[in-house]
């Protein structure tokens, strides 16, 4: 697996061993959102370009868009979130992943932050 990278929009992405990518929101972001009550997941096979809105997370407070940090095709969505949206709060960076995708341009990851830079970014 590749190093986990973070976007300025608070999504994380990681390239798996098979070359596909897993995307979710950061632990920092879930704390900001508060209690998550619903997630609108994208359709499978949808082609998405970097920074496109692919999912919506509804917390008690508000609705927030999830922007895809790299371009590619959606190949899997985390169906568990349909019944257990609170998984985003309890496990944002593990079991609460949102989608898996086949990236079209893995070099887009180079522009994203590593964990240390992201920690620095969110502490400002």
């Amino acid at each position: 697996m590749s190093e986990r990278k973070y976007s300025q929009d608070h999504e994380w992405v990681e390239i798996d061993n098979d070359g596909n990518a897993t995307v979710g929101i950061s632990d920092f972001a879930q704390k900001e959102l508060g209690d998550v009550v619903y997630i609108e997941l994208p359709e499978l096979e949808r082609e998405v370009t970097q920074d496109e809105e692919v999912a919506v997370i509804e917390s008690v407070k508000t609705a927030s868009d999830v922007k895809i940090p790299i371009s590619g095709t959606i190949i899997e969505v985390n169906e568990v979130l349909n019944d257990s949206p609170e998984l985003i709060n309890s496990a944002a960076e593990t079991d609460g992943w949102i989608i898996k995708m086949t990236p079209t341009d893995p070099t887009q990851l180079d522009d994203l932050m590593d964990a240390a830079d992201y920690a620095d970014f969110t502490s400002k």
């Binding site: 950061s26 900001e32 508060g34 209690d35 009550v37 619903y38 349909n82």
Partner: protein, 370 residues
């Protein structure tokens, strides 16, 4: 994800440092830097229904209208009576414009030396200007910027007050009194915005932090923020200014008929009374109603409602997820003919429609102490 940034020009309440030390998340609200949550929306919400929570609501305006004539004077711009209020009695009302639109919704309390008003934070300036324009020459008015306002809400609120030796046993819902707490002059009313039993305490700024600390040191009491306050008032079916109420909406459209006594309409001596009289006789077109969304997706303010033939029949004014009912709830303005019908209605959220059911308000029964 969007993350809020705080603007430096915001005002702070006397409890600002207290909130910071408790690790509250602070957000801009009506020009103030206010705590939106402490331990979490859901936890604070459920705790208020089960035990008691303390809320800083010092951003709200506290006005005092001096003199015996304050009541009859104020009655010129509100739809209900205040001259018949007994000492310590409190009443909900609205300030009206000439079109019977709502300038603000307010609480009025009769005290021995005049009327105490609690008004919405975002409306403070225009309310003050309205009162000045109407009564500036007749009434001596004060704006109590030197006072904090603290709400203690929940079924164990009365026990908590008793444990602090603050005697509220003589207060029933919508009654108030002047009392000394820690040597400070306070005004305590048995009222609130959550649907639960509870109190709102007006206390000098200098004494607020000490009192707040005493409250959160009590068993069963935790601090809560404006996030929980909003979902609590929504479950209680209570209107929020700027959402259910504004200057284009009349009290009859807002379903506040109980603050428009028929005799007042007959007398028609208050601002906007002719508009209300006509509306009362011919009926309103749109009316506020409660909605249960029969899906997991919360309907939000601005989402439109449709009938089965795709005709737009209403718009959501407030919507969130109800922690007590574990489903999305909303209030909306709906074409009146649909309110009593069995017509199937749908709310559109992000280009998809979900079934909704019109339901009587409140969503969660009130538990006031009468």
């Amino acid at each position: 994800m969007k993350v809020d940034n705080l603007n430096q020009s915001l005002q702070r309440t006397a409890l600002y440092e207290m909130h910071q030390s408790l690790g509250a998340r602070l957000v801009p609200f009506a020009g103030y830097e206010m705590p939106v949550q402490f331990s979490g929306f859901k936890e604070e919400h459920l705790h208020t229904r089960e035990k008691a929570c303390v809320f800083d609501i010092s951003h709200m305006g506290q006005f005092f209208l001096h003199g015996d004539v304050a009541g009859e004077t104020l009655e010129r711009i509100i739809p209900n009576y205040v001259t018949n209020l007994k000492q310590g009695q409190q009443r909900y009302s609205v300030l009206l414009n000439e079109h019977a639109g709502i300038i603000d919704d307010i609480m009025i309390t009769k005290m021995d030396d005049g009327l105490m008003l609690v008004v919405n934070a975002a409306c403070k300036d225009k309310d003050w200007a309205t009162l000045q324009a109407h009564f500036g020459n007749e009434l001596n008015m004060e704006c109590w910027d030197d006072r904090a306002l603290i709400a203690l809400q929940g079924p164990t609120a009365a026990q908590t007050m008793a444990s602090l030796n603050i005697d509220c046993s003589d207060l029933r819902f919508l009654n108030a009194k002047k009392i000394t707490v820690n040597n400070a002059t306070c005004y305590i009313s048995r009222s609130g915005y959550t649907g639960e039993d509870g109190f709102e305490i007006s206390i000098p700024n200098d004494d607020a932090e000490n009192f707040y600390k005493q409250l959160i040191a009590c068993d069963d009491v935790i601090p809560a923020g404006l996030g929980a306050r909003d979902t609590l008032r929504l479950e209680a079916g209570l209107s929020l200014y700027g959402h259910e109420l504004n200057e284009e909406i009349t009290p009859l459209e807002a379903g506040l008929n109980w603050i428009v006594p028929k005799q007042r309409l007959a007398e028609a001596t208050f601002l906007g009374s002719n508009v209300l009289k006509e509306q009362f006789e011919s009926g309103v077109t749109l009316q506020r109603a409660g909605l249960l969304v029969e899906a997991r997706v919360p309907a939000r303010e601005g989402n439109f409602l449709f009938d089965i033939d795709h005709n737009q029949v209403g718009e959501v004014s407030s919507g969130s997820f109800s922690p007590c009912l574990n489903q999305p709830i909303a209030m909306a303005y709906i074409v009146k003919q649909f309110l009593q019908s069995d017509a199937e209605l749908f709310v559109e959220v992000r280009q998809k429609q979900y079934p909704v059911k019109i339901t009587p308000l409140p969503f969660v029964p009130h538990r006031y102490y009468y």
